[in-house]
Structure formats: structure tokens, C-alpha cells
């Protein structure tokens, strides 16, 4: 699609233009990390850090805690519609791709989640490709890449003192209206940057056959070994851009029915009223997490349910590395 360009120092101007008709959400600097927030001025944007935001992009569409509805004196009161127009600037392609995976859950044919759908329809996502992937990144291994366009309306490629902007969707074209086009030679340069970034990333493992192997070792000792150091803290799932499990609880004092992120790494997650728990130990829970991403997602939509963002690798307090877990599974042979 159409490629346009702006000088790097013209970015604030473009963002201000977007801000006239939408909330602009972008990564801002926090103590030791970055987070997506509504910005009031383009100077707040923090793009120089190579690392992704701590919370994934999904949090803007499936908030960690969200009011489904309120009730008062036994009466149902609908929640306010979350339909403000938003331009999300500075998303990474792995996070945007994750949105397309979650769309298959929340916008499943005949079974829409209205909260997700409303937010998705009201947002445009402007992503920045990663010309310097991090050590923990492995998007190319799982079928994505540092300039993956899925889930994006605009893809931005940093080139010398400029940004090359490619409209991926009609929403994206609207955002890029009246900007100067990229010359043919510059376009070639952009492609080279994109290809170079992808080629710099080493394969973390061979994804072919992962699903079948995990099914084959479902009852094996592998799980006992691989979960040994896991604390069951659940950070890998909370910060995962494709994890979507939630709990529904009533906040009695506020009179709200709320959904909160939940995690398959907790024992109460699957504990039944009878006392029976189908996943009583970390073994079953670790197995569920890995198999969901690398087997069940494939069964559903033939795509790995991991976009290689590397958050679970970076934030695991005991250094468990999902790439290493998959490699060990692939090498596993029954004694």
C-alpha cells in the first residue's frame, strides 16, 4: 500500500493532528519501564527504548479490570460504552499481531464480546517496526517478524532522520492523508532495513512439529522436570499479549460485576466447588500454559498462540525461558 514519509522532528506535528479528533495513546516513560498512556503532548512519548512496554497492547482492549455492568437495588445498569476514538502510536508488531489472535476469540463468528469489539472498532493502531530486536525477542520463530503488519493500521519504519509510514488499512490511509510520498529509492532502503532486521534474528527453535510433540509427551516426565523452578506467580500469563483468561466477580460495595485478568498458573483458577481440581499442581498448570500456546491455538486457527514478544522470558522471576522449554520438549525422549 501507499508509503509516505515525515522527518523525525515532524512527528509531534503529525501526532497533534491526530489528537484533534482522537485520544492518542503512546508509550511513556515510567521508573524503569514504559507504559501505554493517553498523552497530552508528543514530548511524553518514549520511543528510544528498544524494549517493549511492560504491559502488552491487549491491556488497552481487555483492561486488567473492567466493569461489565453495575447493579443497584436489583436493577441492571449498563456500563458506559468505551467507544472513544483512539490512535495508538508506537505499538510493536508482536503486540499488534496478538490482537488479531485475540480477535478470533472475542469477535468469533456469532459470539462477539461487545466490550472488546467496541474498543477495537474505535482504535487505530500505528506500529513501529523493530530495527533492533532484543535478545529475548523471537517473533520470526513463531511466524511473525519485526515488521509484521498484522493488526496494524500503519507501519512505521525508522530510516536515518525520517520515518517511513506505510498505510496497511483504510483507517491507516486516513491517518496518513496529505503526507509526501516515499521515493522509489527510499522505498528500497526501507525494505532493506526491514529485511535486515528479520535476518538478524536467529531462530529460537524449529516450530514445525511442536504441536504434535507436545501432544505426544502429554503424560511424560518432561512436565515434572520443566516446571521444577516455577513459582506459579503467573507473571508470564498476565504480561503475555495473547493470554486472555478472565474471572468474573461481583464488587459488592461498588455494586459492579467486574472481569479481571486471571491466570491458569493459579490453583484456584480451575478449582471446582466440589473440591475437585483438574489441574491440582504446577505440573498440570505449566502444561496447560505451554499447550495452549503451542498446541490448542494451532488446533483452533492453525497459528501459534505466541507472537515472540519475549515478556515471559524477561519478567520471569526465576528465569524460565519458554524458548528453552520448547527446545527441551522437542529433544525429549522417553526413558
Amino acid at each position: 500500500m501507499k508509503q509516505v514519509q515525515i522527518e523525525k522532528n515532524a512527528l509531534p506535528e503529525l501526532i497533534q493532528r491526530w489528537a484533534q479528533s482522537a485520544q492518542v495513546v503512546a508509550p511513556v516513560k515510567k521508573e524503569s519501564y514504559t507504559a501505554f498512556e493517553v498523552i497530552t503532548s508528543p514530548e511524553e512519548i518514549e520511543l528510544e527504548r528498544a524494549h517493549n512496554t511492560r504491559y502488552p497492547l491487549k491491556a488497552l482492549f481487555l483492561p486488567q479490570s473492567e466493569v461489565l455492568f453495575r447493579y443497584h437495588n436489583g436493577e441492571y445498569l449498563p456500563a458506559e460504552a468505551q467507544d472513544s476514538t483512539r490512535v495508538i502510536f508506537g505499538a510493536r508488531p508482536c503486540d499488534a499481531r496478538a490482537l488479531t489472535l485475540l480477535d478470533t476469540v472475542f469477535e468469533e463468528e456469532g459470539s462477539h464480546d461487545p466490550y472488546w469489539k467496541t474498543r477495537r472498532a474505535a482504535a487505530s493502531v500505528v506500529g513501529i517496526g523493530c530495527d533492533q530486536p532484543c535478545e529475548s525477542c523471537f517473533c520470526t520463530t513463531v511466524g511473525s517478524g519485526p515488521f509484521d503488519r498484522s493488526g496494524l493500521d500503519v507501519l512505521v519504519t525508522p530510516v536515518d532522520g525520517k520515518y517511513a509510514l506505510e498505510a496497511v488499512t483504510e483507517k491507516g490511509q486516513t491517518l496518513l492523508a496529505n503526507l509526501p510520498e516515499l521515493s522509489a529509492s527510499e522505498q528500497k532502503q526501507v525494505e532493506e532495513i526491514q529485511q535486515r532486521a528479520a535476518s538478524q534474528m536467529k531462530a529460537a527453535f524449529d516450530p514445525a512439529g511442536v504441536r504434535d510433540k507436545l501432544y505426544a509427551i502429554f503424560e511424560s516426565e518432561y512436565w515434572k522436570q520443566v516446571q521444577q523452578s516455577c513459582l506459579g506467580c503467573g507473571v508470564c500469563t498476565f504480561l503475555c499479549p495473547t493470554c486472555f483468561c478472565f474471572d468474573i466477580v461481583d464488587e459488592t460495595q461498588r455494586g459492579e460485576r467486574v472481569r479481571n485478568w486471571d491466570t491458569c498458573m493459579f490453583s484456584v483458577y480451575s478449582l471446582e466447588a466440589s473440591g475437585h481440581n483438574p489441574r491440582p499442581s504446577r505440573l498440570e498448570r505449566t502444561r496447560q500454559r505451554l499447550m495452549h500456546k503451542y498446541a490448542y491455538w494451532l488446533d483452533h486457527i492453525d497459528q501459534i498462540g505466541c507472537t515472540g514478544c519475549g515478556r515471559c522470558v524477561r519478567y520471569c522471576p526465576v528465569g524460565l525461558d519458554i524458548r528453552e522449554m520448547i527446545r527441551r520438549a522437542q529433544a525429549w525422549e522417553e526413558a
Binding site: 461489565l68 455492568f69 447493579y71 436489583g74 441492571y76 449498563p78 456500563a79 458506559e80 460504552a81 476469540v105 472475542f106 468469533e108 459470539s111 462477539h112 464480546d113 461487545p114 467496541t118 501432544y215 502429554f218 503424560e219 486472555f244 483468561c245 478472565f246 474471572d247 468474573i248 466477580v249 461481583d250 459488592t252 455494586g255 460485576r257 472481569r259 486471571d262 491458569c264 483458577y269 480451575s270 478449582l271 471446582e272 466447588a273 466440589s274 475437585h276 483438574p278 489441574r279 498440570e284 496447560q288 499447550m291 495452549h292 498446541a295 490448542y296 488446533d299 483452533h300
Partner: protein
């Protein structure tokens, strides 16, 4: 924001028309709910298939899933039998006729009745899991449905006679010519005229023929576990044995993630599965 009907989390307003204890020990209570809005009622009965479940909802207490225990022809109400177990079921047990309550559903797939036409049906239930089988049996009993199916054999066991549900109705089934009923209690009891023993043993004793038949098994996991091999020994193929599963469920519409067995969600792809389908899934039950 959302009109009713397109927000899957919005409970329909219902009212408890009848509430009565189902068991002598008051651990089981039956509720018959009626609709506050005509449109909800219409939509519910257009969609309802025996074997489905609903999320019952009490503002301030949350929600929990229960199998539907009534057939559509019984009237414009929805029946549930609730065993007192946790916080939600304790709260609902305190409710009485006239109280408002919320309901979402019907949810899940229900029994594959279209595939069962012309077949002999063997219905095997234990404990309060018999509720959806009661709905199934009631559905089949209706004169306009009865001719669709061949013979109907119902085997229903409870720990003791005090825990037997739908007593007076089931008692009247003994005189009927359109079905065979076998009731059992676990241990001998004075005055008990029917089978004594665990459900798997009773199934062995009754020995239903697998010829042109399907078997439906709903009960506590331990009962199901020991009944399936009995059916296999009798000659039932895995494709002809059906069971209904339960797991902790929150949304009931395949979004919240927690009720999966392998790639299947109990709430959306189930709760009814054939044994053949279950055999293809990882052992995560």
C-alpha cells in the same frame, strides 16, 4: 450501551415461581424460574435443547452454571436443581418463590437429539447430575416427540432414597409403557423396592442391548469412570456413548478460558461429548 441480546454477560431478569427442597437432607433444592420479559422467553425456548445449561446470577453473589432440568413443553419456566456446595449455592438456597434472579442461557450444545432419532436410548444418571437427564427424559416423553425415538430405558441411582430427585413424577413412570425405569440406592434400605447397588453394577444387571442404541451417562466423575467400561463390555461403541462434563466456568460463551480440555471448551463445544470425542482429547479432566 448494549441492547439486550447482544451482550452475552447481561443476565435476563427472572423470577422464582417455585422453590422446594428436593432431598430429605435439604442439600438439593429445585427452582422453577419464569421470565420477566416475553422476548427473553421466546428467544430462550427457540434455542433450548435438553442437555444445555444456564449461568444463574445473583447481584452481589456472582454466577454459577447449572444444567437445565425441564423440557420445553412443560411450560414457560426453566427448572434447576441446585446442590448446596459453595457461596453461590448457599445464597440461592436461601431464596424463595417471588424472589428475582438473573439467568444467562441456554448455553452449550445439549444432547445431539437429531442423531438419536429411531434409536433405543439408554439414559444412565447418578446423583444430582441426573437433572439434565430428567429434562431429556421429559422431552422424549412428550407424545409429539416420543415416536421419534425407539425404546427408552432410564437407570437412575442415588446414595439413598432421601436423595432421589423428582420422586413423585418418577414414581409414576413405573406404570408407563413408553419407558423402562430402574432406580437404585447404594445400600439396602427398609421399604426400598427397587435396585440396590452402585450405578455401574445396576447397568451390568439391567444389561441394555447395544443394538441400534445410544447410552447417555451423567453422574459424579467416579460413577462415570466405572460405568463407561461396563457399557463398553456390553458392546456399546465409543461413538454411541455420551456424557456431559462439568468444569469451573465463568463466561459460558468460550471467552474466559478456564473450562478447556485440550482445544475444546466445555461451555461452548460441550458440555455433551461422545466417548469417542473424549478419547481424542488429552487427559486433562
Amino acid at each position: 450501551m448494549h441492547k439486550n441480546g447482544n451482550n452475552p454477560y447481561e443476565p435476563m431478569p427472572m423470577r422464582i415461581a417455585r422453590a422446594y427442597y428436593e432431598s430429605n437432607d435439604r442439600s438439593l433444592k429445585t427452582f422453577e424460574l419464569v421470565f420477566e420479559r416475553e422476548a427473553d422467553c421466546k428467544r430462550f425456548f427457540e434455542a433450548y435443547n435438553p442437555g444445555q445449561f444456564c449461568q444463574l446470577s445473583i447481584f452481589g453473589k456472582g454466577e454459577a452454571p447449572f444444567g437445565i432440568a425441564s423440557a420445553a413443553w412443560e411450560g414457560e419456566f426453566v427448572r434447576f436443581t441446585v446442590q448446596k456446595m459453595g457461596t453461590f449455592t448457599q445464597a440461592i438456597h436461601r431464596m424463595k418463590a417471588g424472589d428475582p434472579i438473573g439467568m444467562r442461557g441456554p448455553l452449550g450444545n445439549g444432547f445431539p437429539l437429531d442423531e438419536w432419532g429411531g434409536k433405543n436410548l439408554v439414559v444412565i444418571g447418578g446423583g444430582c447430575a441426573f437433572s439434565t437427564l430428567y429434562a431429556l427424559t421429559k422431552h422424549i416423553q412428550h407424545p409429539s416427540n416420543r415416536a421419534t425415538y425407539n425404546e427408552l430405558c432410564v437407570i437412575y441411582g442415588a446414595r439413598n432414597s432421601g436423595l432421589c430427585m423428582y420422586k413423585s413424577d418418577i414414581q409414576s413412570w413405573y406404570g408407563r409403557e413408553d419407558l423402562q425405569i430402574h432406580q437404585a440406592v447404594d445400600v439396602p434400605e427398609e421399604g426400598w423396592l427397587h435396585h440396590v447397588g452402585y450405578v455401574p453394577d445396576v447397568v451390568k444387571e439391567v444389561a441394555p442391548s447395544p443394538e441400534n442404541a445410544v447410552a447417555v451417562v451423567c453422574g459424579p466423575p467416579i460413577m462415570t469412570k466405572f460405568t463407561l467400561p461396563v457399557l463398553t463390555d456390553l458392546g456399546f461403541a465409543p461413538e454411541t456413548i455420551f456424557t456431559s462434563l462439568e468444569k469451573r466456568m465463568k463466561c459460558g460463551v468460550g471467552k474466559c478460558g478456564r473450562c478447556n480440555i485440550g482445544p475444546e471448551y466445555i461451555c461452548k463445544d460441550g458440555p455433551v461429548f461422545s466417548q469417542a470425542e473424549l478419547q481424542a482429547l488429552p487427559a486433562d479432566i
